[in-house]
């Protein structure tokens, strides 16, 4: 059954593969569990793979009220409990979901065996919050189409993948609920989990996309340097690396996890 009630909302999820080790995939703002389609079939041959549509996105329940990063971490913990998933967990996050991964690890140190951050956005500089609030307001006023020039067109130039992959991603992106999209941006605008980086106590891989136009490689490298013992890698990829460069990402993940 692909839906489950947890933390007061309905979540759409997929659980694939069979193994003792569980990978948790946290999608980006504007994405959905489909964002991981390019890597899941292969991963599920070796690992148990859990992915879900975050609150307000994909086929999960849409939101109308502001929420905090804590709500998203509560969601994940409630889903784990409801589905009776057993540690150890390997948590893979993309962009803003790195905030959620950081807090989840801080709360569940014994259960998290490793972390992977793809083009992470661990926290927003308060000076930049205004720009994110503007994007949120624009989405609420004009819908997702109104924010495309400020967001998707910058983060995903069509040249980064084949045409079908791009159109598929764009289609899903434009189909987002503008209110849920805006609330995610407002949540991001007031969240800064970067102080947790230095306290990470499990093996960690940080991956930068060389062609990420909205987060430059040195910025991601700077984040990796704040994590004790973290491995840092650069791959040919844009911001949405599981979508634009699944093979390169998959190769790194398999090497990191030795599977």
């Amino acid at each position: 059954m692909p839906w489950i009630e947890a933390n007061g909302a309905s979540f759409h999820y997929k659980l694939e593969g069979k193994a003792d080790q569980t990978v948790i995939l946290l999608h980006e703002i504007g994405g959905s569990l489909d964002s991981w389609d390019g890597i899941v079939p292969d991963l599920a041959k070796k690992l148990n793979v859990f992915r879900y549509d975050q609150r307000g996105f994909g086929l999960s329940e849409k939101v109308r009220a502001p929420y905090s990063i804590e709500t998203l971490v509560d969601d994940l913990q409630a889903l784990i409990a409801a589905l009776d998933l057993k540690p150890p967990f390997h948590v893979v996050s993309l962009a803003a979901s790195s905030m959620q991964a950081l807090d989840f690890q801080a709360r569940n140190r014994a259960a998290v065996a490793s972390l992977v951050f793809c083009n992470p956005a661990p926290g927003v500089d308060p000076a930049r919050a205004g720009a994110l609030e503007n994007v949120a307001a624009l989405a609420e006023k004009e819908g997702i189409r109104g924010v495309l020039p400020l967001m998707l067109d910058k983060s995903y130039p069509p040249t980064l993948s084949d045409k079908a992959t791009y159109e598929n991603y764009r289609g899903r992106y434009v189909a987002n609920d503008p209110v849920g999209f805006a609330l995610a941006f407002r949540m991001m605008a007031r969240t800064n989990m970067a102080p947790l980086l230095a306290g990470i106590s499990c093996p960690t891989l940080v991956i930068a996309g060389r062609q990420d136009a909205i987060r430059a490689v040195p910025v991601t490298e700077g984040i990796a340097k704040q994590i004790p013992g973290a491995r840092f890698e650069i791959i040919d990829a844009g911001h949405f690396m599981p979508t634009t460069s699944p093979q390169a990402l998959l190769a790194l993940l398999k090497d990191f996890w030795k599977v």
Partner: protein, 261 residues
């Protein structure tokens, strides 16, 4: 080569791969197109490069009077039209960076991506006063008197000490800048405000700034105002970050530009 645009003759250099996407480089106050030597060489295999001496700089004409960013932007569009450049990436440093931001606000249809470097969002009463003082020095004593104070402001002392050849080239650029051009462009810098148009910028933008550049807070404020922009801080570098750290700087622009379109 000389190209007539917006009423004056511009000194331009066109290099790189014919037919490839254009990258245009725009210089800072009191320098010229040779400040981009390393970047033009490094990007030439993938891009067609246009470098030009900004109005009043290098071998471009230096009309008397005050210039403004409206004029510097019109210069760029005039050059694009004259050279039949429909769209381009645009990289500029300091005054060239502000030209890049102003272009992105006014002419997004002519741009693919922009990289404004070591620049800020607006003049202030204090900065206007400083420009007035420097304009007075240029008028009364000539550019020579501005060479050392400018070098000291642009580069960290340890860089000046260890890179005499490079710094001497920059000294020569300052020394040979036409006084009228310096005065005209300094007037533009003493009175501008890019803030009102920032939130509308849809052109993918990467800001670059030296970690020791006094422009750093201003560059961060620009980054904060442009949604979806990225920022690269070059640790330890001063104001002319592309000259100080050509390795990091060039990689940061190349990574950003190769994935476009």
């Amino acid at each position: 080569m000389k190209v007539k645009a917006n009423g004056i003759d511009f000194n331009c250099r066109i290099e790189g791969k014919r037919g490839a996407p254009w990258v245009v480089f725009s210089n800072s106050l009191a320098t010229n197109l040779s400040m981009w030597d390393v970047q033009a060489e490094a990007l030439g295999d993938k891009f067609q490069i246009l470098r030009y001496d900004q109005r009043g700089h290098g071998d471009t004409d230096a009309p008397d009077g005050k210039y403004s960013f409206d004029v510097l932007v019109a210069d760029v569009i005039g050059l694009f039209d004259a050279l039949e450049i429909e769209r381009a990436h645009f990289v500029g440093l300091s005054m060239g960076g502000m030209t890049a931001v102003a272009l992105a606000e006014k002419h997004p249809d002519r741009l693919d991506r922009v990289v404004p470097c070591d620049c800020g969002p607006a003049s202030t009463p204090q900065s206007a006063q400083q420009w007035e003082e420097r304009i007075a020095i240029a008028r009364e004593q000539g550019m020579e008197a501005l060479v050392e104070p400018t070098i000291g402001r642009w580069f960290p002392p340890e860089f000046i000490a260890a890179n005499k050849g490079t710094v001497d080239k920059v000294r020569e650029m300052i020394r040979t800048t036409p006084e009228a051009g310096f005065i005209g462009c300094a007037s533009a810098l003493s009175n501008f405000d890019l803030r009102p148009g920032l939130s509308k910028i849809g052109t993918p933008t990467r800001f670059i700034c030296g970690g020791k550049d006094a422009s750093l807070p201003g560059a961060k404020a620009l980054h904060a105002g442009v949604a979806g922009s990225s920022f690269v801080e070059i640790e330890g570098a001063g104001h002319i970050s592309n000259v100080e750290r050509p390795d990091i700087f060039t990689r940061a622009i190349k990574e950003f530009l190769v994935s476009a379109r």
